[in-house]
Symmetry: C2
Subunit: 320 residues, 2 copies
């Protein structure tokens, strides 16, 4: 049982000091490796590790082909300014090969987990000689995995998996007592710019969680373009999270007076404090119509756009 | 080329008089048969035929298993009050047998068309000895079929099909110069109660056009229940049309803290004059949230509800 630290009771400066000490004492003279995705959790844990270990923390950005538009450049640029050098590892072929033909959401997650930890990351860790992996798992990831709602790709111990045996390294998870609102406070305390710690959550399996059905390079490109439109238009809202989902169902459309049997994008935008419960943001119809129009203009093959109107529960924030 | 009569230039009383004469002179001493679905078009053409022919018009309601909740009772009751007796023909088994295993929208329409005209209706017409079929085809049906947007099940001549050769009877289409707004004026002039002529449009292939994928009895039952909720909640709006669509895609949901991999209902509600172009109705979020909540409560297996926000074109009013 993990003891939760609520955002309210959290003293972020003291939390950082304690975790820096814990990391140093666990690692000793060794080196540590971590994967930075650019999300709030992994950015915060990167800065925490950097404060504890300096250059003994090796941070990699794994380009899995499933990230948002311009993401590798954005992340390496931003952390470069903070004095943290990030190595980009191109693993697109390995991820798409692992995802080929898979339509079940859990099998997709499993394929990404295996490719990430056992293949790509296992190789990087081996080459680096690191004995520890630093990871930004938070309490909501654990809850959802244990409850069987979703398999979060970064939760092992709670599922009875020993990473040392399975992958050959130890996993450190200094944020595991926090939820999203707590992580943001810690990110702020570590000096991350607003651009990072205010970033909306993004799922571990990245854009593969944003396509219903097979995550092919073409379908990922479709949802990537739609995601860029949604993030641009909804950036001004104070919503907790917003996303685009590519459906597998085909719907009838019409272009230039002829039938155009096309695809549908579903937009979700959530109001939430900690992701455990959420309600759809009451966007204006001006914004909803702009979303529909610009997605249809920007994304080839899309003839229909919907907005998600059910709460969590019984829905979930992501669809896959 | 059919000459359009716009709602603006239409004189409904004179139109009715002319069409009554045309029907009488075409039919002579014979009998005519027509299928009443309960929608605006077929209700109006039933009253028109009844005015022209009295008891020589035989009106049947074909229970194809694809109609809305309580529809046979509603339609026969309502027309009974208007002095028109309607015979209900139970053909559910034939329709579901024809739809089995079919997922392509056009093949679904074709299966329904063939079952309706060639099998069920062909048999009824033969038994009745009628030489004419009276049908409520309108100009929008023709446009969309000719343009290849959708195959409307009641359009033959425009596709080069001779119903006399194909099915053994002649088809009369007295409303074919009108669009939906014109038909409503004619319905009013024929004394139909508001309940009928103000009814929102409903597609020819009925609820089979409201499920993406196979139209099984179970899936039709699911979308029938959702449709009842949507029609109840949106009855007070002045929208042109509103509908529920059952998706085939599965989405993640959560019930009682456990994952519930479920189904999604898409709600569409349209502002339109004549169905050629349409925009999503700007419903309030109170209404949207009520829709989501009540659909989830009423319909087993639904964990997610969306609202359609793209215009026609490039979308269409129905999804299938």
């Amino acid at each position: 049982m993990i003891k939760e630290i609520t955002a309210k009771e959290l003293n972020p400066e003291r939390f950082v000091d304690e975790k820096v000490e814990e990391i140093r004492s666990a690692v000793g003279e060794g080196t540590v490796i971590n994967a930075l995705s650019g999300g709030v959790d992994s950015s915060t844990v990167t800065m925490l590790g950097h404060r504890a270990l300096g250059k003994r923390l090796k941070t990699v950005f794994i380009e899995n082909g499933l990230m948002r538009e311009g993401e590798p450049e954005r992340v390496t640029g931003l952390f470069g300014k903070l004095g943290v050098s990030v190595e980009v590892v191109d693993a697109r072929k390995e991820f798409f090969a692992a995802l080929k033909g898979i339509i079940d959401p859990e099998e997709k997650r499993e394929a990404i987990t295996q490719t990430f930890y056992a293949r790509v990351f296992g190789r990087i860790v081996k080459d680096s000689g690191a004995k520890h992996l630093l990871q930004g798992t938070i309490l909501t990831d654990v809850d959802e995995t244990v409850a069987g709602i979703k398999r979060q790709h970064n939760v092992f111990e709670q599922l009875g998996i020993d990473p040392q045996k399975a992958f050959g390294y130890k996993i450190m998870e200094p944020l595991i007592q926090l939820r999203k609102d707590g992580v943001r406070k810690v990110g702020r305390a570590l000096g991350l710019p607003a651009e990072v710690f205010e970033r909306i959550p993004f799922p571990g399996p990245a854009l593969s969680a944003r396509v219903i059905g097979e995550a092919t390079p073409e379908r990922i490109e479709t949802v990537r373009t739609a995601t860029a439109v949604v993030e641009r238009i909804l950036a001004g809202t104070n919503a907790f999270q917003y996303l685009a989902i590519l459906h597998e169902d085909r719907v009838t459309g019409v272009r230039s007076g002829k039938r155009d049997f096309g695809q549908q994008i579903e937009v979700r935008c959530w109001d939430s404090v900690d992701a455990r419960a959420a309600t759809p943001t009451r966007l204006s119809f001006d914004v909803l119509e702009t979303l529909a129009r610009e997605i249809i203009l920007a994304v080839p093959g899309i003839v229909s756009v919907t907005y998600h109107i059910a709460p969590k529960p019984p829905s979930t924030i992501e669809a896959v």
